[in-house]
């Protein structure tokens, strides 16, 4: 079996379409909308907003695609490295994560059906798997388990809150169950980062720099932030349970604010988040 599978070779059937994040970020309508004053920055998920249902459907389809890629990524990390690169216990943790991610895919399929979404209705962005293509397992664990699974904690917490406010029992339970697993996955990433880089401070620094980069890119131009009206709210309590220190959580909040300011500046707006 091939090791280090590139993103282009992921198996998908004809229902799935890919989109690239660069295309989304370089959409000329964003700049044009800003100039003409028609650009609307997404706000907090609110059940009373006219676009709430379709926004939630799109986000949860994105999570479904992310769960597929998380399954693929954990599987690759269990397989791609020899025992001198990754201890057997790490492979076992990745195998356990595969089991969780497979269950999340099944939960997400049921949730998308509940919400009236077809599989493949929205285009797939493959950024999670791309973060898992790094040749260094320590980088993968920080990029995927700490940064992107950390983002998943924020999304699940946000959508659990959305489910509670709208009285949707299916959404609330699905998010709660998946959130519990994500906390474990992030903690696994934090523990293995510490163990793999125990005697190599330079490697640890590189891994944390990589995480910072991933956190910044995937704060989605500051849409994931500490602000009360952010579409995705930083889940401080769950991140703390998952092993992030207070300083690390503050840093993620700062990185999100930076990303928001840079995003607005790119569009020619005042650099206030």
């Amino acid at each position: 079996m091939k090791k280090m599978l590139p993103v282009q070779e992921l198996a998908r059937d004809s229902r799935f379409w890919r989109t690239r994040m660069e295309e989304q970020m370089s959409d000329p309508r964003i700049g044009a909308g800003r100039v003409r004053g028609t650009y609307q920055r997404p706000g907090r998920f609110n059940p009373d907003e006219p676009q709430a249902a379709d926004g939630a459907r799109s986000l949860m389809h994105g999570i479904f695609m992310g769960e597929i890629q998380a399954l693929e990524a954990a599987g690759r990390t269990a397989f791609d490295f020899d025992l001198d690169q990754t201890p057997f216990q790490l492979k076992l943790d990745m195998a356990r994560q595969c089991w969780d991610e497979a269950r999340h895919v099944e939960i997400s399929v049921k949730l998308t059906e509940w919400m009236g979404t077809d599989i493949g209705e929205f285009a797939e962005a493959t950024f999670l798997y791309e973060a898992a293509c790094n040749a260094d397992p320590a980088m993968r664990l920080t990029g995927v388990n700490r940064a992107l699974e950390g983002l998943a904690i924020d999304v699940f917490n946000t959508m659990k809150d959305f489910g509670e406010r709208s009285g949707d029992p299916v959404m609330t339970f699905c998010e709660d169950w998946m959130l519990a697993d994500e906390v474990t996955h992030v903690k696994m990433g934090s523990d293995w980062l510490r163990r793999l880089t125990e005697n190599d401070p330079e490697r640890r620094k590189q891994a944390l720099d990589f995480q910072r980069l991933v956190d910044k890119i995937f704060s989605l131009g500051g849409q994931r932030s500490d602000h009360e009206d952010a579409p995705i709210k930083l889940a401080r309590q769950f991140r703390s349970i998952a092993g992030f220190s207070s300083e690390e959580i503050e840093e993620i909040a700062d990185v999100s604010n930076e990303a928001a300011a840079e995003s607005l500046a790119r569009m020619g707006a005042p650099t206030k988040a």
Binding site: W17, T19, E23, D27, P47, E113, A123, G167
Partner: protein, 187 residues
Amino acid sequence: MATVTVTPEAFELVEFDAGVIRSIAEELATLIGLQDDVPITVEVDETVIMPRVESSIVGNAITISVTGGALEDLHKARTLSPERTRLILGTHLLRARDRLDPAWAEAPTGDELTVQHTSAWDTYTEGRLQRLGLPTRQQRRIYHFRLRHGFSDDIDGVFQRLWDGENLSWSDVEKACEETAALKSNL
């Protein structure tokens, strides 16, 4: 055939063809049974990614204001989705036809139309579009309805009544909303 005008005639930021939008609107106007003397204007704001649609009537002239994001292909950004265009224009043309009926004279406009009212009206509209042969998705519509009205079997019953409804009036929509509000308060 109804006279349809699409603005702008040429798009700069999205790969939309005004002629395709016009022909979809003409086809739907005939299918829905709008009179030939009803002028229809479809105003597309190509600068907005967020999907939004509004419609209004002045005299018997229908104007549908829609963002480019509402009409685009969910797989390929900035490309027109004929299927989504059909459903969105169909919904608003049917809603406009309702408004031209005296039984809907009391239907509020703009911000006075609550998300609950809109959701109930959309349910009645999409049910009729399905019976006219347009591709619709009942499961998607019921999720919208539940989000606005509540999650219970009894509320689903109100949804089904609206979906299956024919020749309803504005007061039927209002009654349905009052009923779901009462059911929701007992959840």
